[in-house]
Structures are given as C-alpha cells and as structure tokens.
Symmetry: C2
Subunit: 198 residues, 2 copies
C-alpha cells in the first residue's frame, strides 16, 4: 500500500474514467488535493448536477435538460431535414459546424455483430416512426466513417428507400477509420456540404 | 450555447484539470453521464473524502492521512538515511522501487528564479532542523534531473557540507528499457561519465 487509503481510493476511482491510466489518475488526484475546498465543491457539484439534470430527448434521443430538447422544439429549424447520428456527442459535433439547421435522430450506437449490437438495439423503429409522421424531404445518414457506421448507413439507406425521400450521407473527406466526434469543424462542414445521394 | 447548462458546466469544470483539454473534458463528461448513480456517488465521495482526510506530514512534508506519516513513524526504516525530494509524488515514485528504506524530506518544489521560487519558499529550514536534531549518516538529494532540480541540489549540497555527513545524488544515466539511439546527448554524456566496471 503505497498511498494512504483515501488517496488510493481516489486514484482507483479516477482510473476508471476512459483514457485515464494509473499515471494520469495519480496526477489528477494530486491536483484535486491541491484545489481549495470551493474548487473541489464546484467540480463535485457539477458532476452531481449534470448527472441529475441531464436526460434524453424523447423525440430525437439527444442528451438534454428537457424533453423535447431545444433543437426539436425550435420551429425555426428546417423541419424537412433529418440528420441521423450514432451518439449524442455526434449532435454536438454537427452543431459546432453551424452549417446544419435541420433536426436530429440519435440511434444510440451502430450495428456491430461483434459487440452483439443488432438493428433492434438501436432507435431505428423510432426513426421509421418519425419519418412516417414527419414531413421530411431528406435524411442525412451521418454515422461514423468506420466499418460499423458504414454497415449501419447501408442498412438504413435500404430501409428508407420505400419512403421515397432523398437519403444522403456525408461526403468522404472524413478520415476513414475515425470517429465523427473527433473530426474538426471545417472537415465536418466540408463533408456536410459535399454530401452525396445513396 | 451548444451544451445544455449542466453539461456545459461539467465540461468547463473538468477542463480545468491538468492535461484535460476541451475534447477530453467532453469525453469525460459524457462518460460521467453514462455512469449509474452509485458510480457517480463513489467518484464524488472519493474526491470529497480524499480532500477532507489528506493532509501533510508535519515531519517530512509528505501527503498523509495522519501526522507523523506512516513512513516517519516506522521505526523499522533506516533512521540514518534521508532522501530529499521535490514533491509528494516523488516519494511515491521512490517507494515504488522498494529499494529505499530510509526517511524522506519533501521540499515542496525546486528553486526557480523564473517562477519566483527562492530557497525561502521551500522547506529547507525544516530540512536543516531535522539534520541538526537527527542522526543521519547520509542525505540523498533526489531532486528532478532538470535545471531547477540541479540548481536546488547544488544549493543544498553546499548548505549541508558543514554538517559533515555524506551527501549523495541519484546516478545519471540511460533509462532502463530504453534505446541508446533515442537517448539525448546530455543523458548519454552523463551515462558515459558515470560508467561503471563490470
């Protein structure tokens, strides 16, 4: 036991966070001890508060403080354009481009036989329902440019064909094998502008 | 405002941590939201608990749950050997070797005119007091192998000379497991100077 118990416990808890190894956890723990009481309180409250107040939009599936979320509720946005993404963070990435002004649909992942995620595990039924009920002209499938994302995109494209609407995907230009959330705003804007029809 | 307020606040607080940029903060925030209530509670409690319970040992200056700390209190450790380090985390690094069995003294930093840190800002007075009162045979100065650490080591070595005890420092050389070709010139020169016979 190299660390006193409370320190060891903190390092242990921090090391559970994604991308935080033992060295980083130690560094963060030392930093947290160096913060003053107010700063620790602020950090802790932000965590508890976010955890308590954040939920999911019942319409689009995006992380939101209220449901329907501010995007779904915004009548000034293009109600005829729907962008389908895998994760809530992808909505943030898209919003950062300030190019897209339509609505979103968050699938909650991508089809991945390896991880045992099939179409039924994603919000595809909800997507079809929205398309049936809505007045969409175009659906942009903006899944991640990797194997799972591509498979999901193709699956959706086929599924949406009977609806007779325009189904597009983001232009290649996104680094293949990457994650949508890590694309920079300009690349993502370009990809959005150059989207092609299936 | 791309994020709902509680989420934005959490990302903002997380981004204050060292080595955590906006992207990492966002990733951590999403992860925290994905944790269940119990897991968030555990993380938050670990922070609050560590902050409340951890203090500094009044003898050596190490982060500790009680004072004197378990190392200072351990009569089985070599009471004649003192290792001087810059930071509490350096004690952990030394302890991990399981080679050193003496006592520690944490300076709380290194002399750095650029950052306005002079000898009076470090626990040097306390060090001299401990040496006067103690029965040390040897003091190992284990400051960081950089400019500030070297300056501090030389300053201390000079200061400790009158006490007539052995003052040593850690060997400079090639990191074990490294490649010779990747060693910088200075490290390699030091390794050459400090070469030992088989």
């Amino acid at each position: 036991m190299l660390y006193p118990a409370p320190m060891g416990r903190l390092i242990h808890e921090l090391a559970k966070l994604p991308g935080v190894g033992p060295k980083t956890a130690q560094r963060l723990a030392f930093h947290i001890l160096e913060l003053n009481e107010t700063e620790v309180k602020r950090l802790v409250e932000a965590m508890v508060d976010a955890k308590q107040k954040m939920g999911f939009c019942s319409v689009c599936g995006q992380l939101a403080e209220k449901s329907p979320c501010t995007i779904c509720d915004d009548r000034l946005r293009n109600q005829k354009l729907l962008c389908v993404v895998e994760e809530p963070k992808d909505v943030i990435a898209m919003e950062k481009t300030r190019v897209f002004k339509g609505l979103y649909h968050v699938l909650g992942g991508a089809i991945s036989p390896l991880e045992g995620i099939g179409p039924d595990d994603l919000k595809i039924k909800e997507l079809l329902h929205r398309i049936e009920e809505g007045q969409f002209d175009e659906v942009i499938i903006a899944t991640d440019p990797n194997v799972e994302g591509e498979a999901t995109a193709l699956y959706l494209a086929k599924l949406l064909k009977p609806f007779g609407l325009k189904v597009t995907r983001l232009a290649r230009g996104l680094p293949v094998g990457g994650d949508l959330e890590y694309a920079d705003e300009i690349t993502l804007s370009k990809a959005l502008e150059g989207r092609v029809e299936f």
